[in-house]
């Protein structure tokens, strides 16, 4: 057996990896946005809503968190069209899945964040005459945001790695691109080494950028 490591193909197919990477980041970004909306809404419902609504939220979180993400991807991609009778694009299906998945994790993050806003600060908001909605918009939400921002950054990096699973339903993201190159060049080792490097380096750069953003958004935060 005589296998010569050769990375030349990488340059030939660099655009496949590049566009795959762009799509991966986009998928993670859209999913965390939708996930934040889901997570925040459900966290508020969980904290302030009726007991039975609380149970619905808990059930959603439990189900999603206790299923393998891969299974969720298959369930939604094959399951929803067969029930609803409409087919949808693999990318849309994956965004839906990853958003629901992110939402279930972020409920916990936002719930803890809302709970960490001191009741005294909310009283101060009442004392100057803010209404319930204003207290949420101008006091609770921004105070909570400062608390949860580091967790959101971590969640985003996690989702970025999870986008790799979209390859199983042929979403043309980074791992799918790598697979395509492997199939067409038979250079499995080189492809996976390169792609692993891309995930590592890009993940690291994204995290560094997010930490920088946190510092801009939360000046003077004592940690």
């Amino acid at each position: 057996m005589n296998y010569h490591i050769n990375f030349n193909f990488v340059w030939k197919y660099a655009d496949k990896l590049y566009w795959g990477l762009v799509l991966s980041i986009e998928l993670a970004f859209i999913s965390i946005l939708i996930g934040c909306v889901i997570g925040l809404a459900l966290a508020v419902v969980y904290n302030d809503g009726h007991p039975w609504l609380k149970r619905v939220v808990s059930a959603y979180v439990e189900v999603v968190r206790n299923l393998p993400l891969l299974l969720l991807i298959y369930l939604i991609f094959y399951g929803i069209p067969s029930i609803g009778g409409f087919a949808f694009d693999a990318t849309e299906s994956f965004v839906l899945t990853l958003s629901l998945y992110a939402g279930a994790y972020l409920v916990e993050v936002f719930r803890a964040g809302l709970a960490a806003v001191s009741p005294g600060v909310i009283d101060a908001g009442k004392a100057i005459g803010l209404t319930a909605w204003q207290r949420f918009a101008y006091v609770r939400f921004p105070t909570m945001l400062r608390i949860v921002l580091p967790s959101l950054s971590n969640a985003f990096i996690s989702l970025f790695k999870d986008t790799s699973l979209a390859s199983v339903i042929a979403v043309p993201e980074l791992t799918f691109g790598a697979n395509w190159i492997k199939t067409n060049t038979f250079r499995a080792v080189e492809v996976w080494i390169v792609v692993a490097g891309v995930y590592l380096v890009v993940g690291w750069i994204l995290l560094a950028a997010l930490r920088l953003l946190e510092r801009v958004l939360m000046p003077g935060r004592r940690t």
Partner: protein, 260 residues
């Protein structure tokens, strides 16, 4: 004969099975400073929180400028708890300064003061900023207006807390042990701000353990114990020749600090 600005009659309040306020009466005439003293757990904080509807009361009446705080309708008749919107409007005219400062942690000093002016009073931001800066200057913080609370000392944070409350032009200002969380050397700078407000005729209800301060700025001193008002009168009279056993034993445990 004008009605007192704040009139509290037979207010009762329980937390679960604990009766915390057991029929408290209190009048605060306009321009006067009523100082409330009493042992821990006697209901001082609860009374203040009832005055600006941070707590509900079960029975009796609290009126500020003739408006019943907790309820619509008269005592005795059918009364309904007020809605959030009504409470917000009522609270906007009642200022409160807290023991733990409770500044909005994500806003700078000037933004802390501006928030109520822009969102509650509907002031344009430029005008609100001007007013906020004026008050921060008044409390001696013109150099710290762009600092976040985490970048301020306790005494500075509390002065922002005072500026935030008085900038709303409240009819009455409630102060709940506003120096208790401060290092002793920072107490004086906060109390001197309050002395200034008292001199200008701000109506206040002040809960404090600073007896020198209480004697100097108080027009009335009220001693509470176990949810009751035990004694009431001019501070010098109450502090000097009290014939009440519980008040005497309370005062003997309180140190008189000169920096107050």
């Amino acid at each position: 004969m004008t009605d007192p600005l704040v009139r509290i009659t037979q207010v009762k309040k329980s937390f679960g099975s604990t009766l915390v306020l057991d029929g408290v009466d209190l009048d605060v005439p306009k321009g006067e400073v009523v100082v409330v003293i009493g042992p821990s757990g006697s209901g001082k904080t609860t009374l203040l929180r009832c005055i600006n509807a941070l707590e509900t009361y079960d029975d009796g009446s609290i009126k500020v400028d003739g408006v019943e705080i907790g309820f619509r309708g008269e005592p005795g008749g059918p009364r309904k708890r007020r809605s959030d919107g009504e409470l917000a409007r009522i609270r906007a005219d009642i200022g409160m300064v807290f023991q733990q400062f409770n500044l909005f942690p994500h806003l700078t000093a000037v933004e802390n003061v501006m928030l109520g002016l822009t969102k509650v009073r509907g002031m344009p931001p430029a005008q609100a900023r001007e007013k906020a800066l004026h008050w921060l200057d008044r409390v001696g913080l013109s150099q710290k207006t762009a600092n976040l609370p985490s970048q301020l000392s306790g005494g500075q944070q509390q002065r922002v807390g005072i500026a935030r409350a008085v900038a709303m032009d409240p009819k009455v200002l409630l102060l709940d042990e506003i120096t208790s969380a401060l290092d002793p050397e920072l107490v004086g700078e906060v109390l001197s701000v309050v002395r200034g407000l008292a001199a200008e005729g701000m109506t206040m209800v002040v809960v404090t353990h600073e007896m020198t301060f209480a004697r100097d700025v108080g027009t009335q001193l009220v001693f509470m114990d176990h949810g009751h008002k035990i004694a009431e009168g001019p501070p010098n009279e109450i502090l000097r020749r009290s014939d009440n056993e519980r008040l005497r034993s309370f005062l003997s445990r309180i140190e008189f600090r000169q920096d107050g």
